[in-house]
């Protein structure tokens, strides 16, 4: 079983109720695989935050038909290494997509995710709460999930990926 692989690959409708459905599904699936419950909770939290962002900031104008109301969620890995990836369409010139890329660059300027997370908490307090634009979710993924985050914007699709050890 050492070369054991796992994979979930889903087209998800952009509906808020799906956030918790997917978060708890991932939690339950991986609790059946791994004995580390806290690691499974972290994986579920990462999934929830990425799915929230896709629904909040994706382009769901529906101009191109029903398929445009969905995004892609993948959770896969081997052994204790897990990856969570979300791909969603974004509007041309969408500042939120650029903000995701900037946030990941900002994260790399800190010596640790914990330091970055505390700095973001202070930023939120100083700026007044604007939860839609705080990008706290991404910083939380890096800190609480102890994840390495990457993102790219290619031909109108934002792809964000988190890697963690469960």
């Amino acid at each position: 079983m050492t070369d054991f692989h796992f994979s979930i690959d889903l087209p998800v409708r952009s509906e808020w109720s799906n956030v918790d459905l997917l978060r708890t599904s991932v939690l339950n699936c991986f609790a059946a695989i791994f004995s580390d419950v806290e690691g499974c909770r972290a994986l579920a939290m990462v999934t929830g935050e990425l799915v929230e962002n896709a629904i909040k900031y994706g382009d769901w104008s529906g101009l191109a038909g029903l398929d445009d109301q969905r995004f892609r969620l993948r959770v896969w890995g081997e052994g204790h290494d897990a990856h969570v990836s979300v791909e969603n369409p974004v509007k041309r010139g969408d500042h939120n997509a650029e903000e995701v890329l900037r946030t990941l660059g900002w994260l790399r300027t800190f010596s640790s995710p914990a330091e970055a997370y505390r700095a973001r908490l202070l930023d939120i307090a100083a700026a007044g709460p604007e939860p839609s634009h705080s990008k706290l979710g991404l910083v939380r993924i890096a800190y609480e999930g102890n994840c390495r985050l990457t993102a790219e914007l290619v031909r109108g699709v934002l792809h964000v990926q988190a890697e963690l050890t469960v």
């Binding site: 806290e38 935050e49 909040k56 307090a125 709460p129 706290l136 800190y143 609480e144």
Partner: protein, 121 residues
Amino acid sequence: MQSLIVGDLRIEALEDGVVPALQLLWKGKSNSRHPLEMLTPYFRDVLAAAAARGLPLELHFEKLEHFNSSTITSIIKLIQDARLRAVKLVLVYDSALKWQKLSFDALRVFAKDDLLELRIA
């Protein structure tokens, strides 16, 4: 004080005379898209009640299963509002739950005076 039910989240208000504080017990999951809109008016009333009674406000998260990052933003606003009203705020969490330990340990960045206490259950 009234309790609050929003989606999967239930906040039970408790003032039992045994604990000299107005207690809010968080249960379930805080996974709303806009928790600030739901929680801010409730927190405003609770803070007013605590101030009127001269009691600290204790939030208990031990039974909470999950909160999203937007909820954390709402808690930061509560910390600020409580400080403005000079109401002592106590956040009680279960450090045996890693996600709670990480989340609330980080909030110690706001514990710069006696008006905010982060307490392990």
